[in-house]
Symmetry: C2
Subunit: 166 residues, 2 copies
DNA sequence: TCCGCAAGGAAAACTGTTTTCAGTTTTCGA
DNA sequence: TCGAAAACTGAAAACAGTTTTCCTTGCGGA
């Protein structure tokens, strides 16, 4: 049993809840997916291994994982709640590419320090913070430059439409 | 006519739309309210001056204001889209008190600089960024301390319940 | 004055999420 | 080992914020 599973089990027990196969499976799939999953995403993955599990259970289990400190809710502002690993994972921030949806994680100690300083200045006690940088990633910038060149001296007819991030 | 109204008018015209009393009223009320309004908030204010205006129009007009660059959408992650003034207003970040919902605006040039540096490092072209610090404001911290004292040596019976931010 | 495009409001549709409901499973003490 | 109590589950309904649809209204130019 992994450390994470123990943490979950401990949390479950502390709340007087029960360990079930559904919860085990959802946790397992969550753990082996190192991404920013939405509840929907996870639901799809889970369903692939057990068609009988319902959305509701996934929602509920994600809540439990969050409570247990294994997952962390991240809302990027598109109305969808994403979840990322939280156990023994260092805090980090996100850059989100508005073209392809790619998420780049980064961390800066200086940034953290300044944030804390700003909070202190306002006598504000920080419990959490979120930094989100939205823009265009290196990859997409290159693609765009290509497209521009193409436009200036067109060769083929099909111009790539930029995929909208979801 | 204020500068903002001109900006709006210009935008309206560029899109081949029309100036209407409803849009004027909504813009007017938005401009005189220096806060982070949700669509619902604005709708309530507008309705006070003209009962006949519908939610839909408020939503649509806020979209227009955003397009025109007068307003800016801010999502704090509670599922509600807030709008703040954007025209000739310097960019700033937010601290949000989870007890009373108060919003403190702040700005730090260093912070901006580091963010830009981080982006540059990843060859990421920034179009927007958002920093949200969640915690407890000075006011509420004081209130909590009071409550704790009260608890240690109770005098009255009524203990204040902390209002949940909305 | 007539035409046509855009506007506006009500209501329906939609989306992600939460709650309700009713049947099922698990736990645990006797 | 039984049986009651508590928790679990999935489906469907409920919800809240937002967007779309539909149809009437009305302005503005020919």
């Amino acid at each position: 049993m992994t450390e994470e599973q123990e943490v979950f089990l401990k949390h479950i027990q502390k709340k007087g809840l029960k360990r079930t196969t559904q919860r085990d499976l959802i946790l397992d799939i969550f753990l082996r997916t190192e991404e920013h999953l939405s509840s929907e995403d996870l639901y799809r993955l889970v369903k692939r291994e057990d068609r009988s599990i319902g959305q509701t259970t996934v929602y509920r289990t994600l809540k439990l994982l969050t409570e247990a400190g294994l997952a962390r809710e991240v809302r990027f502002g598109d109305g969808i709640t994403h979840y990322e690993h939280n156990y023994k994972h260092q805090h980090h921030d996100h850059m989100i590419c508005s073209k392809c949806g790619r998420i780049i994680e980064f961390f800066s100690a200086e940034l953290e320090a300044i944030q804390d300083a700003m909070a202190a200045k306002h006598r504000f006690q920080v419990t959490q913070h979120l930094l989100r940088i939205i823009g265009v990633c290196a990859e997409c910038r290159r693609a765009m430059k290509e497209a521009d060149k193409e436009k200036a001296a067109p060769r083929g007819s099909a111009r790539q439409t930029t995929a909208r991030a979801r």
